[in-house]
Amino acid sequence: MTIQFKPEETFRDDFSYANSDAAVLRFPFPFPEDTYMYSVNIEPHVPGGPSPAYDNPFDVDEHYVAECAERARVLEQDPSRCKILPHMMAAQWDTLELIMESFATSYPELFSLTREGTRWTWENRPLGIRDSFTFGDASTLPLPPFEYITRQAQGDFTLQDQREDNLFIDGGMVTTQADWSLDFDVGMTFHQWHGPVPLAHQKGVFDRALKFLLRLQFGQPVRRLNWTMTINPRLDTSPENYPQWGPDRTTVTAENVGRKVHLRVELQSLFRLPRSNAILFGIRCYLCSIEDLARVEIWGKRLHRVLRDLHPDIADYKGLTRYRELAVAYLSAFDDGAALPTGTAPRQSILPAKG
């Protein structure tokens, strides 16, 4: 398998990011049914499923090189996006080991890891990195181990320490987030950092999810999908930079809505780490314009119904209120109201031409 990287594409300013037809077809579409409500939609993170995005522990796609460059830009402006409390050093090494081993196994033509005792050599060909270091000795790496490896991966990562029958968000690399702040939330308990989410607390979603995660076993990772919408293919929709991206929400018109409004899906994965007993939480962000999504017949119809009937509190929390009607009106043209099968697979292997 070869991946055609697009190193020059951008997630800010001129927003040159775009999905190839193959990338649209592998998009992890999040709606198996015509309506959406919060639930504990956790399943084993095992290879396979309705999209190849589920085939590996950490998915690498055509946006890999450009996303790593975008992360470097965000960190250069705001290093507080990567923050780890001092007691999490074992979890940092656990993370480095897990990502390196997974990448090297999943994509041997792109990454390789050579281990001789604690003497390791890591090669990342797409980014042109080759480093030899001593596992466990942070002074032998150019950056702390967690930052070093998460700069070479797509998606955000947080580290949860487990103690007092709770999970504490005691570190993370967060540059592609849907409007939450690691710097503000660091050190919080599970219920505290989920505090602002509406409705789900009352439904007991977080009580059940926490109970489940406290029993998460090493070697048996799990995953779930979450979603929101973003204007323009912008990865950094942080609260820190809300003054920079907030105005985008007022730029949607009936003419540009299909190109501007993007469905933003997070493929969230959770791994128990072996030395630290911490949990690594991967939050991998996929962006696709609703114009491209509507080229998949079943997705265009379903997205129309979900958005049209979405609970207003959820629409508000996700920040959709200003442009939701425009998006629903745009998508309604693709929806004949026919009954749809349950599931998220695209059920077609080629896309009609754009526009």
């Binding site: 007092e164 702040s181 710097d183 919080m188 505090g195 977080f206 930079n241 907030g246 105005p247 929400r249």
Partner: protein, 200 residues
């Protein structure tokens, strides 16, 4: 959703002396009689230190010894300002050994600053109790520029760092000892509701 049931918002109970303690340290942001702020004084055996903020330069933090109803020793100190007290507290916690129980009572910004020092000194969460008393005004952390604006009483307040008009959210960080502030008119500059006095 300015006042809501957000789960990061602390819920307080009355302070109660922990009978497992070897020493108690009760800290208040103003002069508050001990028996009004904490239960269990009648059966206390371990010595009690009682520190308060007097808000005047006329005091010098010298100890004054009293006796509680139970007969246990109470050593009281008055500090010139909360900064003066917190500075002394850091010094004390750096030298403490196991068995101390800390109790903080007062406005939220104050009590969570005490809790933060306790955490940084390695105390467990259960070894430091907090209780709210007095004004509901909030310390607000600007998520954009990281400045903490103290004593906010209104739904929207200007950040003392970057000047943004911040919506004071109900999301509370114990690490920053502050509520989150997010620019109210980021999407459409100038478009925000008038500020209302809601944290008197």
């Amino acid at each position: 959703m300015l006042v809501s049931d957000i789960k990061s918002r602390p819920v307080y109970e009355r302070l109660r002396l922990d009978r497992a303690a070897r020493r108690h340290l009760v800290i208040a942001d103003m002069s508050r009689p001990l028996d009004e702020v904490i239960d269990g004084l009648g059966t206390a055996t371990a010595p009690i230190d009682h520190w308060v903020v007097a808000a005047t330069s006329a005091v010098d933090a010298r100890p004054a010894v009293e006796r509680a109803d139970s007969g246990s020793r109470v050593e009281k100190r008055a500090f010139r300002a909360s900064a003066h007290l917190l500075d002394r507290l850091s010094h004390r916690l750096a030298r403490e050994t196991i068995g101390l129980r800390l109790y903080a009572v007062g406005e939220e910004g104050f009590i969570w600053n005490v809790a933060r020092l306790a955490r940084e000194a390695g105390m467990e969460a259960a070894e430091c109790q907090t209780a709210h008393a007095g004004s509901l005004r909030r310390d607000v952390f600007c998520v954009h520029c990281k400045t903490i604006t103290p004593g906010v009483t209104t739904s929207i307040a200007a950040c003392s760092g970057c000047g943004a008009h911040l919506v004071v959210r109900d999301h509370f960080s114990r690490t920053h000892a502050a509520f989150m502030g997010v620019q109210a008119d980021a999407e459409a500059p100038g478009e925000y509701a008038p500020a209302e006095e809601i944290f008197p």
